[in-house]
Amino acid sequence: MVCPITLQIAALLIAAGVVLSALACVQWPTALLFFLGALCMGLNIFETYIDHWPYTPMYMNSRLIVLFLGTLCPVLSLCGKWDSKAHGLTIGLTMLLFTSATLFFPKDYYMPNIRSASIWSHLYSLADPLGRAIFIASATDTVSGNTKSPLMELAFTFFAIAIFSGMLFSINGLGTPISFHQPEVIGFMFIWFLCLLISHAQWARFRPSLFKALNVSAALLTILVTIKFDLGVWRPLW
């Protein structure tokens, strides 16, 4: 059983960061609060991995996205790309949403998938949420006015790694390169095609406002689809 205290501290730290961002009176402390929240989430993830080892824990995308988004905050801050109001509110609210979903609707009542003890399964389970986190962050970049965010190319790269490792995971476990009967696989394909749509729309002659709207909608749909599969029943972890 994984201790929920790290989740609770993560939620509090991220909520404090969101409040500071809303006040917009400070720059780097918000990024630091998000990073500390991500560290607590990292501890929770580490504990879950130890609990499930050698199998890959399931329904981890929300938690891993919080870890990756929170780690990205100080990086953006150090690169001088941190806009407290835009990044702080959008990234912070996304992190808070995912953390609250995990805290109030945990999906931790399952037997491990006995086919998931392979390196490909572990790689897929990390590359997929990393791609999703960077894809969401790239939409935040677009909101701040950067319509050709390098984060989009990075998200594409991690999705490519997830496709390759997911394919090998499927071949090794089920003997087929893809299994269409699993909603999670359809969800991943949906997000990947969304990423392709946005990266092609960058080059098409869209009005900047339309492109921004498209990118933000794609990020919101990514959040929606990710939460949909990681949501359990109402069972607050107090």
Binding site: P150, N172, P177, I186
Partner: protein
């Protein structure tokens, strides 16, 4: 007539067609997310039969439930043609410029990487198409140690030599003492040679274009049997090499984009 063909080719290679197709694919997949539940059996049988046969059979049994999947296949097919035309139309001038200028950096190199991604995407879709239309599938072969062998094709015969059950060794109390996998030693007779291979529940065997994987096994300590799934996959090497190329080129593309933004390698 020539002008009409040229215009059609330009339309087929256009970025706007690609964007609309991607939007259509996203829409059908999003709707599909809400149609997967309740249709898992139908969708999982895609792993045991030919795609066209599957489409005809299940579209008649479940009309209105799997239309999204048929639309997805159709849109991906058109997208592949669009990608092919796009690359064929644009790669020649890019290659000519790069070879003329002898440069391995700059915007032209980045465009070349994009077409490399396109070509590897086409390899993957071709591989999947061959895999889901041409594969010879044996979905459920039950083998017992030193029991009867199973003929896969004219050349290949599979039999089970030994079976070793694997117990859970992790930290979860609820799983302790459970049989979670097997090591199955198979004898595979191909042509005139016999070879022995160890097959595990999470590690399939790939020999040529043959994929052998474990679908199920006896969890009863007193009984020994294993159910294997054999797929003679004619698209295997296309989608494997395509996806490997896709990863390598995508990493180069992502890394190149990042270095470009940071300013690494820029000359004055």
């Amino acid at each position: 007539m020539k002008g009409l063909v040229k215009k059609a080719i330009e339309q087929m290679a256009s970025l706007s067609l690609c964007t609309w197709l991607l939007a259509a694919i996203c829409t059908v997949l999003f709707l599909g997310l809400y149609h997967v539940k309740g249709n898992e059996m139908a969708l999982s049988s895609l792993g045991t039969m030919d795609l066209f046969e599957w489409l005809i059979r299940y579209e008649t049994i479940y009309p209105g439930k799997l239309w999204w999947f048929a639309s997805f296949v159709l849109f991906v097919f058109i997208l592949s043609i669009n990608t092919l035309f796009c690359t064929l139309r644009r790669i020649r001038p890019i290659l000519a410029t790069i070879l003329k200028a002898r440069e391995t950096k700059g915007p032209f190199f980045k465009r070349l990487l994009i077409h490399g991604i396109h070509l590897s995407f086409l390899m993957i879709t071709l591989g999947y198409f061959l895999s889901f239309t041409k594969s010879e599938i044996h979905p459920s072969i039950i083998l017992t140690p030193n029991g009867p062998s199973h003929k896969i094709d004219e050349d290949t015969i599979i039999s089970l030599m030994t079976l070793r059950k694997l117990f859970y060794k992790g930290h979860m109390e609820a799983m302790k003492g459970r049989i979670v996998g097997v090591d199955a030693t198979l004898n595979i007779h191909r042509g005139k040679t016999d070879t022995r291979h160890v097959l595990r529940s999470d590690d399939a065997l790939i020999i040529g274009n043959l994929i052998v994987s474990i679908r199920d096994f006896s969890k009863d300590p007193k009984r020994d049997w294993v159910k294997i799934y054999v797929r003679k996959d004619y698209g295997l090497w296309y989608y494997l090499s395509g996806s490997l190329a896709f990863v390598i080129i995508s990493i180069s593309f992502g890394g190149y984009g990042l270095m470009e933004k940071i300013g690494v390698g820029k000359t004055r």
